[in-house]
């Protein structure tokens, strides 16, 4: 009964969206009246609530383990803890789409709420656009991926959730990521509305700013959590693998970051308007493209959902229509929205533009690398794959100058600057920077990439401190600091500082952990000892135990090499309901570093020998902490009441 109810609500939402489309077309383009606008708002609210309710009904069915629903039979099991019954809802294609819809509903709800007093004619156009997105996704769910399908006869027990997905990290990684993806709908809707209206001003940029930030924060957190989860759950010892699905989540993030900065220019200087619009259209299209790639099974990846070409065709057609129409609209209205104002390159806006170029170029390289196998296949019929070496080789040289430039941009003023002024402001920073670089080059050793990373990170840190210092010092002398001035700096600037500080921490983590890591792989018997540089690691024993829904084999390792000797437990699980194995890496944290041990299967069988992989990842925690700080900086920026009117 609950499942039918959920599906009926979904159909209601679809019908209402169709009515909304018809009605909002009239309101937007033929005959606007305030009364009609308020009706539109009511329809909006209803659609949003229906979508959220439908998702809740699916969650309830999951919690009750109603195996007469095909989706639940396929992805759940009665002996699962409650958390994984709930998270199982979005651990599959159909359920995750319904979550997507629920988030569309959630965002739509707040959008409708917060635009109550805005320009009504304009807001109607925003509703019009976001409703088209709603229709596309609701239709997709109903026609190709109905999560409420029943099966008969009713099975007694479900098939169980993929064991690697049974983890708190996965419970929260998709929702956060989707909140980021779905959030992009709103800047997109605003951009299309602005194109339809033919007018973009600073107020517009100010209105979309919080939406861009929210989306950016969630996307940052979602990607970070995904990376962390892959690190400790998949047992590959690394934090980023340039997997196609990882890439398609990084693409919108990079563009969103670019959008965040270009929107700043639009907001402050009434410039780069068509660019901001284009970025929000493409960033949104990239999330559709990502959905398409993941759901159609177009590229092989660890994230492959059960693939079905019908779904691929649907989402691709939707992508084609919506992006095609947006870009055509963009061409038509381009001259109207583009400002003639010249942009001075030696200024904050010029710097931000330059940074945008770098960010977009890096997006293009990743997009190219991700889709290259596809192009080659179409042209030559050959199967190739593009791996990490390409991405490291091409992405890093483009993103590095972007990071260097951001340090300068933080310190440069809006409008016109002179080189002398800039140097005058930065001279102390440069002296300290050069000194520190000298010290580092003298004291440390490592590959070139290690130094570049550390230097970039230091540069970013120094430029943040320098800007802060310049803001709080008095004009009289260089050492005269007035701390009370710190209170007059807008909160959003502190958010910006923190986000860039997070970036610096992140880069530091990447540079050190990547170039200083240790790695050992081999087979080990019980009582055997291996030496990995300063570590002496012994596999003491392997204990086999039967747990609630898995058989666990735990390798007990003792490690010498830290200040005190420690024991570590690397587990290998065989899940009873699916028969699938999974590894639980043993991770020992020492300050910011990890010692990471994975115990694999017996090799050869019945020999008592185990495949063992040992990693020492110095300072790897900085990677996720840095990303987390970035998101936190974004959160602080959002809280700035003054900036958001």
């Amino acid at each position: 009964m609950i499942a039918e109810l959920g599906f009926i609500l979904l159909i209601f939402a679809f019908v209402l969206s169709a009515i909304h489309l018809f009605f909002s077309t009239r309101v937007c383009f033929i005959n606007f009246s305030e009364d009609n606008f308020f009706i539109l708002r009511k329809i909006n609210f209803s659609i949003c609530l229906l979508l959220i309710a439908s998702f809740l009904f699916l969650i309830i069915s999951y919690v009750l383990s109603d195996f007469s629903v095909l989706n639940i039979y396929n992805n759940s099991h009665t002996n699962k803890p409650l958390l994984y019954k709930v998270s199982g809802t979005w651990g599959n294609h159909e359920g995750s789409l319904l979550m997507w819809l629920a988030f569309l509903g959630g965002y739509g709800f707040f959008l409708t709420l917060y635009t109550k007093n805005n320009n009504k004619k304009f807001t109607a156009k925003v509703f019009f656009t976001s409703n088209i997105v709603n229709i596309g996704f609701i239709g997709f769910t109903i026609f190709t991926s109905n999560p409420f399908l029943r099966i008969s006869p009713i099975p007694e027990e479900g098939k169980g959730l993929n064991p690697v997905l049974q983890d708190p990290g996965l419970a929260f990684h998709p929702p956060l990521l989707y909140l980021g993806y779905v959030g992009l709908t709103i800047p997109f809707a605003y951009s299309i509305a602005a194109l339809l209206e033919g007018k973009i001003d600073r107020k517009w940029a100010n209105e979309i700013r919080p939406w861009i930030l929210i989306s950016w924060i969630f996307l940052t957190l979602g990607i970070t959590l995904g990376s962390f989860w892959a690190y400790y759950e998949l047992g590959w010892g690394g934090w980023w693998f340039w997997d196609p699905v990882e890439n398609v989540s990084l693409l919108p993030w990079l563009l969103l970051t670019a959008l965040l900065h270009s929107n700043r220019v639009t907001e402050k200087r009434d410039n780069l308007k068509s660019w901001t619009i284009l970025l929000s259209i493409i960033a949104f299209s990239l999330t559709l493209l990502g959905t398409f790639i993941v759901r159609s099974g177009l590229l092989t990846s660890v994230h492959a959902f059960a693939s079905d070409p019908a779904r691929g065709i649907y989402i691709l057609s939707f992508l084609f229509l919506i992006t095609g129409a947006s870009l055509i609209l963009y061409v038509i209205k381009y001259d109207k929205i583009e400002s003639d104002e010249k942009l001075n390159l030696l200024s904050k806006e010029g710097g931000l533009l330059l940074n945008n170029v770098f960010l977009c170029a890096s997006t293009v390289t990743i997009l190219l690398g991700t889709l290259w196998p596809l192009f080659v296949e179409v042209m030559t019929g050959k199967d190739i794959s593009v791996g990490a070496p390409y991405f490291n080789l091409v992405f890093l040289p483009i993103i590095m100058p972007a990071i260097f430039v951001s340090g300068v941009i933080i310190n440069i003023n809006w409008k016109r600057n002179t080189v002398e002024n800039l140097l005058k402001k930065l001279n102390k920073a440069i002296i300290i920077f050069v000194f520190l670089v000298g010290v580092i080059l003298f004291l440390l050793e490592g590959p070139i990439i290690f130094f570049i990373g550390i230097i970039l990170s230091i540069w970013l840190l120094i430029s943040i401190i320098n800007d802060f210092y310049e803001k709080i010092r008095t004009k009289k002398s260089i050492s005269d600091i007035k701390l009370s001035k710190a209170f007059s700096i807008p909160i959003s600037t502190y958010g910006m500082y923190l986000a860039h500080f997070g970036l610096a921490v992140f880069i530091l983590g990447v540079a050190i952990s990547d170039s200083k890591k240790l790695y050992y792989e081999g087979v080990m018997k019980e009582k055997e000892i291996v030496k990995v540089e300063k570590f002496k690691i012994q596999l003491k024993e392997i204990v086999e135990k039967k747990e609630k829904n898995w058989i666990s084999q735990t390798g007990n390792f003792s490690v010498e090499g830290f200040k005190k000797n420690i024991s570590m437990f690397a587990e290998r699980r065989l899940y009873l309901d699916t028969g699938m194995p999974s590894t639980e890496a043993a991770i020992y944290r020492n300050f910011f570093s990890h010692l990471y041990i994975v115990m694999g299967q017996e090799q050869p069988l019945n020999s008592g020998k185990r495949i063992v992989r040992i990693y020492f990842n110095p300072f790897i925690i900085l990677i996720w902490s840095g990303a987390f700080l970035m998101a936190f900086g974004g959160l602080i920026s959002i809280c700035d009441k003054k900036r958001n009117r």
Binding site: L298, F320, G324, L327, L374, E377, V378, L605
Partner: protein
């Protein structure tokens, strides 16, 4: 003069996003249209002779050699411990009369296999046991269930990774007949 030409060229820069997008769309549509024809995971053994499989037979009516090069058949790797194999089993049962199916139990215990087959039915004309995974290595097995389609000349024609469904099996048989 040149400046003017560049200026008029720049006017068209606004068209670049849509043009790039159309090119991209062409590729994506092409791929999705052809996705059914692409083999899911090609085997290097495709169109090669079936490697010699020296395995233990379990109550079988005839041997593999009596079939090889005479009749087309399929080889199905399965295991009693594998959940998707159970699902696939009903499909195999359905086709057991039309097709010659050779079952290879992968890293399995003979008693469990027998229990499995008595519970779900036995679609196999020949049943073999690959207890140490030797045949699996020879064929480059990806995981269970996995199915190889062998033609009447004894060559491997298709490899299906993961469980077969009725729809998939029909498609494969159809495409093999066409060739």
């Amino acid at each position: 003069m040149i400046k003017k030409e560049i200026g008029s060229f720049l006017k068209y820069i606004k068209l670049s996003p849509i043009i790039l997008f159309l090119i991209l769309s062409y590729f994506l549509f092409w791929k999705i249209k052809n996705i059914q024809n692409t083999k899911e995971l090609q085997s290097v053994l495709l169109n090669q002779d079936l490697p010699k499989l020296e395995l233990e037979y379990v109550d079988s009516k005839f041997t593999l050699n009596s079939l090889l090069g005479k009749k087309p058949f399929i080889i199905n790797f399965f295991a009693s411990w594998c959940a998707p194999c159970r699902e696939e089993h009903t499909v195999l049962e359905k086709y057991s009369k039309d097709l010659i199916i050779i079952g290879i139990a992968y890293k399995d215990d003979i008693n469990n296999v027998k229990k499995f087959l008595s519970e779900l039915g036995d679609p196999y004309d020949i049943l073999m046991l690959d207890s140490n995974g030797r045949a699996a290595i020879d064929l480059g097995l990806y995981g269970v269930p996995e199915t190889y389609f062998i033609d009447s000349k004894g060559k491997i024609k298709y490899r299906q990774v993961g469980p077969l469904t009725v729809k998939k099996l029909e498609n494969i048989l159809k495409s093999l007949k066409v060739n």
